[in-house]
C-alpha cells in the first residue's frame, strides 16, 4: 500500500512538468502582454514598462523563463504577481483554503442530496416520484451555476432577507454557495446512483438476499448500496476538477473570497505567475483527490486494490 502511495505521489512530478509546459505554451499562444495590459491606454512611461519587465524577468526569452520557473518551483517559489508585484504565494494566501472549504462543503451537499435522492428514485422507479427526481436532475444539469446562484441570492437574500449578501467568509456565508454548487453536482450523482443501484438491484445476490426474507432497507444498506457506490466514487473523483471550476464561478457570484476571484482577474490581466501558481495548486489537489478515491476503492471493493497491487 505504501509503495503504491509513493508511486502515485511521484506521478505529481510529471503532472507539474506538464502543467508548467502547458501554461508556458499558453503564454506563447494567447495574445496579450501582462505589462502592456497594465498600462494600455494609460500612457505608461517606456522606462517604467522596461524596468517592470526586467524585474519580472519578462525581458528574457521564453525558454529561459521556463527553466527558471521550474527551478524556482522546485524550491517552493511560485514567483511574483506582475500586477501587484507581491509574491504569488501571498496573493493566493488563504484564498485557496477558502476554495477548498467551499468545494468540500459543496461535495458534502452533493453526496448527501445526490445519494439520498438517487436511492429514492431507484426505489420508486417509474413512478411519479422517479419522474420528479428526473425533473430535479434535469434542472440541476441544465442550470448554470452562476444563474442558480443569482436566483438563490434574489430569493433568500433580497426577497426573504434570510442572509446578508455582504459579510465575512464565515459559516452563514458558506451556506448559499455550497447549496448552489452542491445542488448542481447532486444532480449528476443522483442519476448515477439511480442507474447504478438499479443495476445492482437486478443482481442474483440481491434476489438471494430478498428471498432470505431480509427487509428491503437491509438489502439496500447492507448489500446493494455499497456495491452501487463504486462507480459513484469514481465519478466523484473525476468530477472534483469540475467542482473546483464551478467553485471559481460560484465564488464570484457569492462574496466568497476564494481563489476564483483571483484567477478571473489574473487571466484578464495576463498575470501569468498567478495563473500558473493557481493551476499548479488545482492540479495537485486534483491528483491528490483522485488518489484518495483510489484508496477509497480499497475500502469499498478489495478486488480492485488487489488487481492494482498485482499490476
Amino acid at each position: 500500500m505504501l509503495a503504491y502511495l509513493i508511486r502515485r505521489l511521484l506521478v505529481l512530478v510529471p503532472v507539474w512538468l506538464g502543467i508548467i509546459t502547458l501554461t508556458f505554451l499558453m503564454r506563447a499562444l494567447v495574445p496579450g502582454d501582462p505589462v502592456e495590459s497594465m498600462f494600455f491606454g494609460k500612457g505608461g512611461d517606456p522606462k517604467v514598462i522596461q524596468s517592470i519587465r526586467v524585474e519580472m524577468g519578462l525581458d528574457r526569452p521564453l525558454h529561459e523563463q521556463y527553466f527558471k520557473y521550474i527551478v524556482d518551483v522546485s524550491r517552493g517559489d511560485l514567483g511574483k504577481s506582475i500586477s501587484t508585484r507581491r509574491p504569488v504565494i501571498d496573493e493566493i494566501g488563504d484564498r485557496y483554503l477558502k476554495t477548498i472549504i467551499l468545494a468540500f462543503s459543496s461535495l458534502a451537499v452533493a453526496v448527501v442530496v445526490g445519494i439520498f435522492l438517487g436511492v429514492i428514485a431507484a426505489i420508486f422507479k417509474d413512478t411519479v416520484i422517479d419522474t420528479a427526481m428526473t425533473v430535479l436532475a434535469l434542472i440541476g444539469l441544465s442550470m448554470p451555476a452562476f444563474w442558480l446562484g443569482l436566483l438563490f441570492i434574489n430569493l433568500f437574500a433580497v426577497q426573504l432577507r434570510w442572509i446578508s449578501i455582504v459579510g465575512p467568509p464565515d459559516f452563514p456565508h458558506l451556506i448559499l454557495p455550497s447549496l448552489t454548487l452542491g445542488f448542481i453536482y447532486a444532480a449528476v450523482l443522483m442519476r448515477l446512483v439511480r442507474s447504478s443501484l438499479l443495476e445492482v438491484l437486478s443482481q442474483d445476490y440481491i434476489r438471494t438476499a430478498k428471498s432470505k426474507g431480509l427487509a428491503i432497507r437491509q438489502v439496500l444498506t447492507r448489500h446493494a448500496l455499497k456495491n452501487a457506490l463504486i462507480p459513484v466514487v469514481t465519478i466523484l473523483g473525476l468530477q472534483f476538477g469540475a467542482l473546483l471550476g464551478g467553485a471559481f464561478v460560484v465564488e464570484n457570484v457569492f462574496v466568497w473570497p476564494g481563489v476564483g476571484q483571483l484567477i478571473v482577474k489574473a487571466i484578464s490581466q495576463r498575470d501569468f505567475p498567478v495563473i500558473q501558481g493557481i493551476v499548479l495548486l488545482v492540479s495537485t489537489t486534483y491528483v491528490l483527490v483522485n488518489l484518495l478515491v483510489d484508496v477509497l476503492y480499497h475500502q469499498l471493493d478489495p478486488r480492485i486494490t488487489a488487481r492494482k497491487g498485482a499490476s
Binding site: 517604467v48 501587484t84 425533473v135 476571484q261
Partner: protein, 626 residues
C-alpha cells in the same frame, strides 16, 4: 397542410380525445420523455418569477427625489452646473478663478489653471441642502475587485485610486470652474515660462501617523515617483517633471523640462497623493497594504477578497472649498468597501440594503429609477466618451471614408437602445464634461443618403442585393469591441445594422480586453468601439499624439497642435489651442464620437449630501445619514 401537421403533433398527446384521463396521466408520468422537460421548464420559470417577482412592481412610484431622472443637473442646488455652462466655464471664469484663489500667486494661478475639467455634476439631495447634517454611521460601499496597491506611486488602477483619494490629500484640487484650487498647497507661482512651479505648503498639517506634512514630505512623495527604482506606473502622469526641491519646510519647487499644462489635473488625481515618509520607512514594500496619508479617512484593515475598512480621521480639517462640509472632519465614522466581483450580486446587495451606494449600469439604473426605496444620482456631463476608431490602413486613411461612418451612425437610436437613454450624444472628439468641449458643433448629421453618396464618390457600387462592392469585389469590414459589457454589445449590433443600411457588410467581434489590445496595436480591425475616461483636455494627446494610444495615429500637423495645447499654461489660450485640435480631429473624422454615458449612482434613502467633484471623485466627506 403543414400547419395542420404541426398542430397535430403538438396537441396530440395532450388532447382529451387521445386517451382516457387516467391512462393519459399515468403514461405522462411514466413513459413520456417530454414531461420532465416540461415540468422542468415550469419549475424553472416559477423559480425565476419567484426570485424576480418584486423587482419590478407595477405600482412603484417614481423616485421621490428629483436629482435623477431625465432632468438636467439641478439648477439651484449648491454645486450644480449645466452642461452648456460647463463647457465654457473654464475659459470664461479663468479670471474669476484667479480672483477667488486666496494666495499671493493668484494671478499666476489663473495662468496655471490650464483649462482642466469643466464643471462636474455636483447634485446633492434636496434634504442635504435643507437639514443640518448628522454625525456618525458606517457607509457601506462596494468595489468590483481588490485594489492592486493602496499607494499612489504604485497604481493606476481606478479601484485603488478611488480609495487612495480618501486616504491621501493632494497639493491642489480641480474646482467646478475647471481651475486648480489650494489644498495642501496654500498657493503657487509659475516661473521660467512654466518650467518652474513653486508651491507654498500650508503649515501645521499632519499625517495620520502623527508626523508632519511639510515640503520635505512633498519632495519625498514626488521623488519616489520619479525614482526609476520605484517603477511607478504614475510616472507618465508627471509629464516633463524633472526634479522637486524643498528649500524650506513650506516651499516645494517643481522643475520641468518643458511647460506641462496637464500637471495640475494629474496631481489633483490620486497619483498626486502625499504619502507619509515615516510610514514608508517603517513599512517598506508593505506600505501599499498599510497606507498612511493625511486624508479625511484613515486606513484600518484590508481582508483580501472580502473587505477594506477606512475610519474617520477625527483631527481632519477639510481645506477644500468645493465641499459643503468645510473645515471639519467627515460626518461618517467609517466607510466599509465590500469586494464583490459579480455585478448581479452588487445590485442585489444594494436592493437588500447591505450596501448603501452603488454605481449602476443602464439595466440596473432602469430598475432602481423605478424603485421608490432608492435615490438616484446622475452625472450627465461626465468625463467619458464612447467612440469608433479606425486603423492606419486603407481605406481608413482616407478622411472621406471615415466621414461615411460618421454620417451612417444614428447616435440617438444608439443612446436609446445601448445606454437605455442614459447618455448624452457627443459630436466632439472629447468627453462632454471636459473643458474645451464645443457645445456649438452640431457634428456630422445622421444622413445615410449622404454616407451612400460619399461611398459612390469613393468608387463603391451596390451589387444586386444592395451591398457595396469595390472593383467588382464585395467588401466586408470587421467591427470589434471588448467583452463584458451589455451596452457595448448592444451598441455594436446597432452600428452593424446602421452600416448595413448603407450597404456595408460588417462582421462583429466582441473580444476580451487583453486580446483586443493586441488586435488594436496590430491594426487588425476596421472599426473599434471604445470607451475612454479622462478629466483633462490632454485626453486628445493621449489618444492622438503619434503613435496614438493604439499605435494607429500619425499626423505631424496634429502633433504640433497637441504639443502647443499641452505646453500652454494660460487657461484661455490653452482652451483655444484645445479647440483648434478638436476642430482638426473633427474635420478629419479621426474618430466618430458617439456619446458620453452618464455616471449613475443608486443610493439608500438615508444617504444625504452625496456629490461628485469636478474630476469625478465622490466626496464622501459631505455624506451623512438622515
Amino acid at each position: 397542410m403543414e400547419v395542420k401537421k404541426r398542430g397535430k403533433r403538438l396537441t396530440g398527446p395532450l388532447s382529451p380525445q387521445a386517451a382516457p384521463a387516467k391512462g393519459r396521466v399515468s403514461r405522462l408520468f411514466t413513459a413520456s420523455r417530454q414531461l420532465p422537460v416540461l415540468m422542468c421548464l415550469v419549475l424553472m420559470t416559477g423559480l425565476v418569477l419567484t426570485a424576480c417577482g418584486d423587482n419590478t412592481p407595477t405600482t412603484a412610484s417614481a423616485p421621490s427625489t428629483t436629482q435623477a431622472v431625465n432632468t438636467p443637473i439641478q439648477v439651484g442646488n449648491v454645486s450644480s452646473f449645466s452642461t452648456a455652462s460647463a463647457t465654457t466655464a473654464a475659459a470664461t471664469t479663468a479670471a474669476a478663478g484667479a480672483a477667488t484663489t486666496a494666495a499671493a500667486g493668484a494671478a499666476t494661478t489663473a495662468a496655471a489653471g490650464a483649462a482642466t475639467t469643466a464643471a462636474a455634476g455636483a447634485a446633492t439631495t434636496a434634504a442635504a441642502t435643507g437639514a443640518a447634517p448628522k454625525k456618525g454611521g458606517v457607509l457601506h460601499l462596494v468595489i468590483g475587485e481588490d485594489p492592486d496597491a493602496l499607494d499612489p506611486a504604485k497604481t493606476i488602477l481606478l479601484t485603488s485610486d478611488m480609495i487612495n483619494d480618501l486616504i491621501f490629500d493632494r497639493l491642489v484640487y480641480i474646482g467646478s470652474d475647471g481651475l486648480p484650487h489650494p489644498w495642501v498647497a496654500e498657493s503657487w507661482q509659475i516661473g521660467d515660462g512654466g518650467k518652474t512651479l513653486t508651491f507654498k505648503i500650508r503649515s501645521g498639517l499632519k499625517f495620520t501617523d502623527g508626523t508632519v506634512l511639510d515640503a520635505n514630505a512633498v519632495k519625498f512623495t514626488f521623488d519616489r515617483i520619479l525614482d526609476p527604482k520605484t517603477a511607478s506606473p504614475a510616472l507618465a502622469q508627471m509629464g516633463t517633471l524633472t526634479s522637486v526641491d524643498a528649500p524650506d519646510a513650506s516651499t516645494a519647487v517643481f522643475k520641468f523640462k518643458e511647460a506641462f499644462a496637464p500637471f495640475f489635473t494629474n496631481i489633483s488625481l490620486g497619483y498626486g497623493g502625499i504619502v507619509s515618509p515615516t510610514a514608508i520607512g517603517k513599512s517598506g514594500d508593505q506600505f501599499s497594504r498599510n497606507p498612511v496619508g493625511s486624508g479625511a479617512f484613515i486606513f484600518k484593515s484590508w481582508t483580501t477578497g472580502s473587505q477594506i475598512v477606512l475610519v474617520k480621521n477625527p483631527d481632519y480639517k477639510n481645506l477644500r472649498q468645493d465641499d459643503t462640509n468645510k473645515g471639519g472632519p467627515a460626518y461618517l465614522d467609517q466607510i466599509d468597501f465590500a469586494i464583490v466581483t459579480e455585478p448581479g450580486t452588487r445590485l442585489a446587495a444594494l436592493q437588500q440594503g447591505s450596501i448603501d451606494l452603488y454605481s449602476l449600469d443602464p439595466e440596473s439604473a432602469s430598475l432602481i429609477v423605478k424603485d421608490s426605496n432608492f435615490n438616484v444620482f446622475q452625472w450627465k456631463s461626465a468625463t467619458n466618451m464612447n467612440f469608433l476608431e479606425f486603423p492606419n490602413k486603407a481605406p481608413w486613411t482616407d478622411a472621406k471614408m471615415r466621414q461615411v461612418i460618421a454620417h451612417a451612425i444614428d447616435k440617438k437610436a444608439l443612446i436609446e437602445s445601448a445606454w437605455g437613454g442614459f447618455a448624452t450624444a457627443n459630436a466632439n472628439p472629447m468627453p462632454v464634461g471636459v473643458a474645451g468641449w464645443d457645445a456649438n458643433n452640431p457634428g456630422y448629421s445622421y444622413d445615410p443618403a449622404k454616407a451612400k453618396s460619399l461611398l459612390t464618390e469613393l468608387g463603391y457600387k451596390p451589387n444586386a442585393s444592395g451591398m457595396m462592392e469595390k472593383d467588382g469585389k464585395p467588401v466586408t469590414f470587421s467591427l470589434i469591441t471588448y467583452s463584458g459589457y451589455a451596452q457595448q454589445k448592444r451598441a455594436v449590433e446597432l452600428i452593424q445594422a446602421n452600416l448595413k443600411s448603407i450597404g456595408l457588410d460588417v462582421k462583429v467581434q466582441i473580444i476580451e480586453f487583453s486580446s483586443l489590445q493586441t488586435m488594436l496595436k496590430k491594426g487588425d480591425f476596421d472599426l473599434d468601439l471604445m470607451r475612454w475616461t479622462w478629466p483633462d483636455p490632454t485626453i486628445l494627446s493621449l489618444l492622438f499624439k503619434t503613435p496614438g494610444w493604439t499605435g494607429q495615429s500619425s499626423d505631424p500637423a496634429l502633433d504640433a497642435m497637441l504639443t502647443k495645447a499641452d505646453g500652454t499654461l494660460d487657461p484661455a489660450a490653452r482652451l483655444e489651442a484645445v479647440k483648434a485640435v478638436q476642430k482638426r480631429v473633427y474635420e478629419q473624422a479621426l474618430i466618430v464620437p458617439i456619446a458620453t454615458d452618464w455616471i449613475i449612482v443608486g443610493a439608500a434613502k438615508k444617504v444625504q449630501g452625496f456629490k461628485w467633484d469636478a474630476t469625478g471623485y465622490s466626496r464622501y466627506i459631505d455624506v451623512w445619514f438622515s
